[in-house]
Symmetry: C2
Subunit: 433 residues, 2 copies
Amino acid sequence: MNPSRPRIIIVGAGFGGLVTARALAGCAVEVWLLDRNNYHVFSPLVYQVAAAELEPEEIAYPVRSTLRRQRNARFVLAEVRHVDLATRLIETDAQSFSYDFLVLATGSVTHFFSVPGAAEFAFGLKSLNDAIALRNQILCCFERAAGALDAEARHRLLSFAIVGGGPTGVEFAGALAELVCGPLDGDFPEVDRNEVRITVLEAQNSLLPGWPARLSDYARLRLGRMGVDVRINTAVGAVTGDALRLHDGISIASETVVWTAGVRGDPSARAWGLPVKRNGRVEVLPTLQLPAHPETYVIGDLAEVALAGRTLPMLAPVALQQGRAVARNLARQIAGKSPLLFQFRDRGTMVTIGRNAAVAHVGRRAVTGLPAWLLWLGVHLINLIGFRNRLFVLINWAWDYLFFERAVRLILPVGRGSTVGTRQRKAGVCVSG
Amino acid sequence: MNPSRPRIIIVGAGFGGLVTARALAGCAVEVWLLDRNNYHVFSPLVYQVAAAELEPEEIAYPVRSTLRRQRNARFVLAEVRHVDLATRLIETDAQSFSYDFLVLATGSVTHFFSVPGAAEFAFGLKSLNDAIALRNQILCCFERAAGALDAEARHRLLSFAIVGGGPTGVEFAGALAELVCGPLDGDFPEVDRNEVRITVLEAQNSLLPGWPARLSDYARLRLGRMGVDVRINTAVGAVTGDALRLHDGISIASETVVWTAGVRGDPSARAWGLPVKRNGRVEVLPTLQLPAHPETYVIGDLAEVALAGRTLPMLAPVALQQGRAVARNLARQIAGKSPLLFQFRDRGTMVTIGRNAAVAHVGRRAVTGLPAWLLWLGVHLINLIGFRNRLFVLINWAWDYLFFERAVRLILPVGRGSTVGTRQRKAGVCVSG
């Protein structure tokens, strides 16, 4: 580290922040990467942790290890308290930093759309802590149902409602259905698998809104075959501790409501005085700079960039490409050149539903079934960080595929430091019904 | 499950309880296995989780999966509230049970010997939660030291004191020294490995008290070479949040005091009115029955059995053999025969210190170095439950051996349901110094 060089602070070690730091490896700068966790999470597989398919460690990687051979970069485990754009100062719970350039990549949080009770009672599916809390809840519900004689209590415990039929909702519904029919069916002789109800509720008129109709229909058909009750045009009115009320007044008894209906930009951005839109995202220039602060970049889920009239989605590939673009623009700025406009290369999106079943949307081609599933497996394995993580995930997937068996299903307590709500914190301990 | 058959309740799914349940597979009985966790822990490797060598899941196994093919057994996730030996009733936080036969196998807890501050501030190393909390603490101390300019704070954060030079203390000290010199040295360029102090404090006049002198000396020599400061004849007077005070008044600054100085029988036994000795263990007949209750067996760490004048140690092999013996005795009792006396076959004990270094005490032979280490590896791998656990542990060990690299070092929050004290609960979140 050379303090005479320009100092770049990167906040957030998700896809965007981590790639920016790595892409600055050869530059004559001093890079500080800040995150509140000491690990980077491969977020596209968080739902598999919740479904007890993968262990938390298999989709996480210590940030420090990724920066080991990079002499110009340091990691700081810290929670940012305040960013002062005017004086270029950052306050954290650990140290304060001044900077020459700033990259904000703090991502997004679950958006509950002010639905009453949702923030309090529904389970999110964004962070690793969310996933562990949800896994605990699912396993605890089965444990409690195993001892429950009361039919109504059993019904409530074995009913799982997933709000949102987008990619996360579809993937989690499929993974949960396979968990219930395979490992949990073997583990719980007290529970008949036909007692279990998995419901997906989507407010719009199809699953995977915005995807080609052929793929939406395929997803709905496959989930239906797996026993998942898919309800479209169904909006949620309220969530309570033991039920979910729909807009039309119908109630679905369930102790486990999973909220995948939306995300919004990290709320800290507003607190720090950044120009924030209604969806919580920060509008940036096509160079990814803040309009009034050319030394400040915002990338990933937090940034809203309009390219050719459409705003880019909140997806990992966008963040990864933006991270590389920002590193390039920082180098240009330091060299006295002007930053380039960001260009996104859309390589397609994919959603897996279950065994041999996935949908992929690559360019104008819509692929379903086994080819899409193999593509999904390959892309996710290749993009995981760390050879050991890839090996362990591959072994777990192969195990699941061959033996219909899942990873160790531990109920481990989740506690302080978790970003989940009051109800989720309870999930570490089974509360007897 | 056939309710007309004799009902056997087993409390605790550790080595003793789990083996008892499995050994009753062929019997015409109804077996209920109760535990507060849904997993069995391979406790001899708990210290490796604390040293970030193995992941929690790799040494744990879901109890329900072990009983899958056993038609006469059921698992109940429950915390026992009360045992009434006279009316043969068990109350739990889930259900109540009457029984014909009872097997108590609730194990042991850390014994702090009333040392002031120990229960509050020292870290235990008994349960999986203990191990996760201690791992978090170690990683947080390094993170905080990385940002600390104050020499005194750095010293306190990088000083690790292990109270107790028995097998657990020796094994953990070695594993911690290897963690510090390998992975953490690479991860923390801000910390010089020579700043780290690991101290083992043993009140008696040698490490591994009761072992042959040759093995104690070897352990002390090897730990010394790894940079561990071993102090014998050193008793601890008090533990505070940032130091440990010795009996002679000397103070050792440390934010991380690990307590491996002793264990005692599960304190619930006293609350349930069982005849408990000063060490918390329940004295049983040589048949493993309670003197006044022939239908009640006590096994494992909780039971104190005197054979040929010496009491059996609190070790996994004793619990395993007692589990099998109790299953046999139960079958005999039900068949109207009298229970047999328990006989312990001592196959030896082993302690690993580090890479290629271990001590083994088999019969009258004392083995050190590489042969003892290979023996230790083999015995522990074979005894792990579950092929996948064995495979993952083997991969992790091989990785560590070949690349001096450890498992993912995540700081995950530990919370409610953990048996650790107030200080440990903090360990999920790094508190800035």
